[in-house]
């Protein structure tokens, strides 16, 4: 966990509105765990004021011969332009300076018993699943990626998962890629086939809520990676809390998404009608 003043190695649009950014990040390949995130500051002045949280997509090392420079460790992000911060990020270029705080938070716990793993990603929620897939594949487990999105442009980086040996299943709302419909329908089918699988999910609240219902019904282990509005990312501001499973008006039990999450066992959380509160 460190705060680096560092530079961008590359930053390019990979699909309309989606970018991929690599940042020089010594130490990340050794330190970063699947499911962890970073807080990025892209401007020196006060507008926008706060850093923005992003999941770690992957880490790696550029070999020396690639660039005529010494070996360089990097962290890679995949992000969607949604507001002022990400808009500003999309204008940055190789060599531009950024401040990188991380790796932060608790990542995925590798399920010790299951050998079948279903990774469920909705849109940009696919980001933290890549390192998880890498790690699971490395220990020889079977990994399936179930990914949903509005249309083909929202389905990212599939081939990279496939290169790991992950079987991928795609569902889009408009049927422009994979099957037409919700990724949760795919999940139900797969769980019927692999009832002992462990499930890991990241995506919009509505999707997580549906995934949780399915897993609860089927009594399979589920870990979810949540998003929340964050100011600090280090547990100081208490802005990012989410109600724990025992939470009630009278006996509140809040967990910090940034410090105790962003990945939680589904059972740690309160699951009201609309999904875990506070997850935006």
């Amino acid at each position: 966990m460190q705060d680096l003043k560092t530079v961008i190695l590359h930053n390019r649009e990979i699909a309309p509105g989606y970018f991929r950014m690599a940042i020089l990040a010594p130490g990340y390949p050794q330190q970063a765990l699947p499911g962890q995130f970073i807080m990025l500051r892209v401007q020196a002045n006060s507008q926008p004021l706060l850093r923005r949280p992003f999941g770690i997509f992957k880490t790696g090392t550029l070999p020396a011969e690639c660039s005529g420079m010494p070996e360089r460790e990097f962290v890679e992000l995949v992000y969607k332009v949604v507001g002022i911060g990400t808009q500003l990020m999309s204008t940055l270029q190789r060599g531009d300076e950024v401040e990188l705080l991380g790796p932060l938070g608790q990542g995925f716990t590798l399920d010790k018993t299951a050998t079948e793993h279903l990774l469920v990603g909705g849109g940009i929620g696919l980001v933290p699943l890549f390192m998880l897939a890498e790690t699971l594949c490395r220990r020889g487990d079977r990994v399936r990626l179930l990914v949903g999105g509005r249309s083909r442009d929202d389905i990212l980086a599939i081939t990279e998962f496939e290169r790991l040996g992950v079987e991928t299943y795609v569902a889009t709302d408009d049927g422009s890629l994979g099957e037409e419909g919700l990724v949760t329908a795919v999940l139900e089918r797969k769980l019927n086939k692999y009832p002992q699988a462990a499930v890991y999910a990241c995506g919009p609240t509505l999707m997580l809520n549906a995934v949780r219902s399915i897993c609860h019904r089927q009594q399979v282990a589920l870990q979810v990676s949540l998003e929340a509005l964050m100011a600090c990312g280090v547990g100081a501001c208490l802005g990012c809390v989410v109600p724990g499973h025992q939470h009630s008006e009278d006996d509140p039990d809040y967990l910090c998404t940034c410090r105790q999450g962003p990945v939680f066992d589904a059972d740690e959380l309160k699951w009201p009608e609309g999904g875990p509160e506070g997850g935006e």
Partner: protein, 311 residues
């Protein structure tokens, strides 16, 4: 200014109602956890004091989410004073604070006069606590102090009650959401405050036109960050003129320059809030920046800078 002066290491030490601080930079309550959270980013022995988040008699869950919203050069928070309560604070947080040589200041609040007094008594017993900061100004929770903080009589009552049962320096933190802050400042000074810290957050609101609703679950929140610095500077300036006791300046301090501005208008020390959230190492940069400025300007002692505005 001689060349000698430029070379010597300037003294940044300040005295705050008897409390000796190695420099005038400390965190603002609620932006620094209980201290330990920041140890990976910052040498806690490098700052003037450690300030905890606000403690209350019983644990407090705070507000529902969303609790934060970003605004132009600022942020709104409606955390709602979530904290572990005095018992867990003593059990879980104080042992770490005891290991520090840096003075420890505990911020606290109550929902009633009685609660204020009870917490003050408990804090009196703790040798690890070097001073306390009384929050009479949090704008988030109805019983969290807004009544005490905007009415001079009520403020004076809580301050004098706490003063009576406390054996340490008492800092009273003022809210900016008042017509005339000097009235409040004089009231708490007369009631026995040793130091005034100002300001807390300005009450604000953010609206989401796409969802047609207020951003924060709580409706309103406290505005902090660079956006409020001009208002904070004005109030600190006014309070410094109005009272005899030392004043701690708070509001939008992100850099050494910002801190030097508050010191120049007469603040004896400063608190850094939102900047810690943006950059957990902010206070270390600020201390270094103040030192560099003093060296370059030939200021041997920061006390020569404090209040030295050319008027």
């Amino acid at each position: 200014m001689s060349k000698m002066a430029k070379i010597k290491k300037p003294s940044l030490a300040v005295d705050l109602a008897g409390l000796q601080l190695r420099n005038p930079v400390m965190p603002a309550s609620g932006t620094f956890g209980y201290g330990q959270e920041f140890a990976p980013y910052l040498d806690l022995e490098q700052i003037g004091a450690v300030m905890t988040k606000g403690i209350s008699l019983r644990p407090k869950a705070g507000n529902p989410t969303p609790r934060i919203a970003e605004t132009a050069s600022g942020m709104l928070n409606a955390i709602g004073l979530q904290n572990v309560g005095i018992d867990l604070f003593i059990r879980d947080k104080v042992p770490y604070l005891e290991t520090l040589t840096t003075p420890v200041i505990v911020n606290f609040f109550g929902n009633s006069l009685d609660e204020y007094i009870k917490v003050a008594k408990r804090l009196s017993e703790l040798p690890a606590v070097d001073a306390v900061e009384l929050n009479i100004s949090c704008p988030n929770v109805k019983q969290g102090g807004i009544v005490f903080g905007t009415e001079p009589g009520a403020a004076a009552e809580v301050v004098s009650s706490v003063r009576r049962c406390l054996n340490k320096p008492l800092i009273v933190k003022l809210t900016p959401n008042v017509t005339d802050i000097t009235v409040m400042a004089r009231a708490v000074e007369d009631a026995g405050a040793d130091v005034i810290s100002c300001v807390n957050t300005l009450t604000g609101m953010a609206v989401d036109i796409h969802k047609r609703r207020l951003h924060l679950a709580n409706g309103t929140g406290g505005l902090s960050g660079p956006a409020i610095k001009p208002v904070a500077l004005r109030m600190v300036y006014q309070v410094v003129q109005a009272v005899e006791i030392p004043v701690i300046g708070i509001g939008g301090i992100m850099t050494a320059e910002d801190a030097l501005e508050f010191l120049l208008v007469g603040a004896q020390a400063v608190q850094v809030g939102t900047a810690n959230l943006v950059n957990p190492g902010a206070m270390a940069d600020i201390v270094t920046g103040i030192e560099t400025f003093c060296r370059n300007q030939g200021i041997e002692d920061i006390n020569d800078w404090i209040g030295s505005l050319d008027q």
